[in-house]
């Protein structure tokens, strides 16, 4: 039986077919991801190309409003960039940072969780206390502090150049405890099982037991957690950019677009804030819905809070 058939007969596929909300969220998410990947092909304008931006076109409302023009379907922002294109590119940045940050925190958290959980002792106690403390400060707080300090150290202009890798690092480092705790909890449960003992008797090295034997059995909680964490990372990025600690305005993410529009909302230009905001909510919501569905299917015990 090949893998596809195996997947078709799995409980995951069975429940997925019957869950309309999950199907809808996956479709929405696919559309958004495809739009982000193929942004240069889909977007009507290139928001990074100064040639295509005319300041005279600034703050044009969406096409359906009275003063809108058909040229700019969703209107333009304060610098005269087409909103639709800027939003697609912005979402691309938000998704890149979100996925990058989750990859980083997953690698860190899973390795720490696996090795600390399997070996126990001082190392384990140290990392778990560190995780506790960091969680008590909340990941957003840690991320805000880290970016605020780095921005103060390197200066705003230089910060703009390294913003993407930096945000990946900050959000990744601020959220590893969730992974470490979840993985550690399942390692503690797996460690006592007979197959681990058998592997130990067979003389496997401990890193081989951890990576080859135990790790595959911790995958389903990791999968569930990862979905929620992508949503969290995207939200954190938006919050940091909104505070001016994230993406600069010449390469805006959804958060920095919302921030740039906020100053103009008092003059009635609601679309610069509301439209990227709506896109952000749709993106995060569909990821969260999918995460909820996966959690119901796998039902792992995730760390609360």
């Amino acid at each position: 039986m090949n893998r596809l058939d195996k997947f078709r007969e799995s409980f995951l596929w069975y429940s997925f077919k019957r869950d309309k909300v999950a199907i809808a969220s996956l479709i929405v998410l696919m559309v958004l991801f495809l739009a982000a990947i193929f942004a240069p092909l889909i977007a009507p304008y290139n928001p990074y190309d100064p040639e295509m931006i005319d300041i005279m076109n600034s703050e044009i409302p969406p096409a359906w409003e009275e003063e809108g023009v058909a040229e700019f379907l969703l209107g333009t922002d304060s610098q005269g960039r087409d909103m639709l294109s800027t939003m697609i590119y912005g979402m691309r940045i938000s998704i890149i940072i979100g996925l990058g940050a989750v990859a980083l925190q997953a690698i860190l958290g899973v390795l720490i969780g696996l090795f600390a959980g399997y070996h126990g002792g001082r190392l384990d106690a140290f990392f778990m206390r560190a995780a506790d403390v960091q969680l008590s400060f909340s990941y957003l707080m840690v991320a805000i502090f880290m970016s605020a300090i780095l921005q103060a150290v390197v200066g705003v202009a230089k910060f703009g150049e390294i913003a993407i890798p930096f945000l990946v690092l900050v959000i990744g480092l601020s959220q590893w405890p969730q992974y470490a705790r979840t993985v550690r909890a399942s390692v503690l449960a797996e460690r006592k099982k007979e197959y681990v003992e058998a592997a130990r008797v067979a003389g496997f090295t401990s890193s081989r037991i951890i990576l080859d034997q135990i790790f595959p059995n911790t995958l389903s909680p990791i999968l569930v957690l990862s979905t929620i964490q992508v949503a969290n990372a995207v939200m954190s990025e938006a919050a940091l950019s909104f505070l001016g600690l994230g993406m600069p305005i010449d390469r805006p993410s959804l958060g920095s677009l919302i921030n740039s529009g906020f100053e103009l909302i008092f003059s009635g230009a609601w679309w610069i804030t509301a439209l990227p905001g709506l896109l952000l909510v749709i993106l995060v919501l569909s990821i969260n819905m999918l995460g909820d569905f996966l959690r119901d299917v796998f039902n792992p015990k995730l760390y609360k809070g």
Binding site: R129, V133, L135, S136, F137, S138, L140, M141, I144, F145, A148, I149, Q151, A152, V153, A231, M235, A238, A239, F242, L243, G244, L245, I258, F262, I265, F266, G268, W270, T273, A274, G277, L280, V281, V284, L285, N288, M289, D292, K304, G305
Partner: protein
Amino acid sequence: MIAFMIRRLFQALIVIFIISVIGFAIKQSVGDPVRELTGISVSEEERDEFREKLGLNDPWFVQYGRFFGDAIQGDLGTSFFYKRPATEVILEKAPATLELVLVSSLIILFFSVPLGVFSAIKPDSLFSRALMGSSIVGVSIPVFLTAIMMVYLFSIKLGWLPSFGRGELVMLGGWGTGLLTVDGWLHILMPSIALSSIMLPLFIRLIRSEMMEVLESEYIKYAWAKGLSHRRVWFVHAFKNTLLPVITVGGVQLGVTIAFTILTETVFQWQGLGFMFMEAVERSDAPLLVAYLMFVGIVMVGVNTIVDLIYGLVNPTIRIAGVK
């Protein structure tokens, strides 16, 4: 219990020590105090002299020792911008943030408990399902977006509520409170609702899932078998045990709430600690940044330690499990 308390307090001290080291490191790397204090029109020799006088040429551990000694006495340096002790600025701004957190905690408490309990005892009712559905939408909307949309709707379109500031304040000693005037309440309404909007769905879901778990337990079945009234089983037997995990999570969520005050205060230009922090970041005001970090760190460690101690008091198993 005493061993547990001592261990917990010792941990808290270590964490505060680490925070102070981080704070010191920031102070060393952000901004140049000599330039901030003297301006540009001072000669190189005078600066060197000044640097020597301030003790900036001492080895770092001597400087750290001085920093820590001052910090213990409540002296966290002088803000570059305000030209006043950072502690003083913090204490002046703290009431605004505390009031915001207080009002939004009350909102969370008043709504999450009845809604969470209701959706746990009647999980299949239409209302509960609508509530669960809307709660996942609720956690997916960023706080600052909720806040901005509220400003747009209630301040700009309808003109009902003020969009920024704290309104009329009444001074009670050193505490400027907005909770004693109608104007103050009008100003705090939107920020506190915005702040509670992300936490409320979380708490409703938490209370619901805890309560449902408790309702499945043996002693509740026994209570039913005894023929106790619905109300008694739900509110006296089940609800009491639901509260325990809610307290701990509540303690953890305080950190999240403080992080979100930064966002909320930025939107509403609420003159509290979060707004001050963002201003300090923009101005590279290192002493104030460090003072904020230390203040928040100590408050957070304090609250978490107290929550843990309370939890240890009400739930003895945690004490025993903690012993190695």
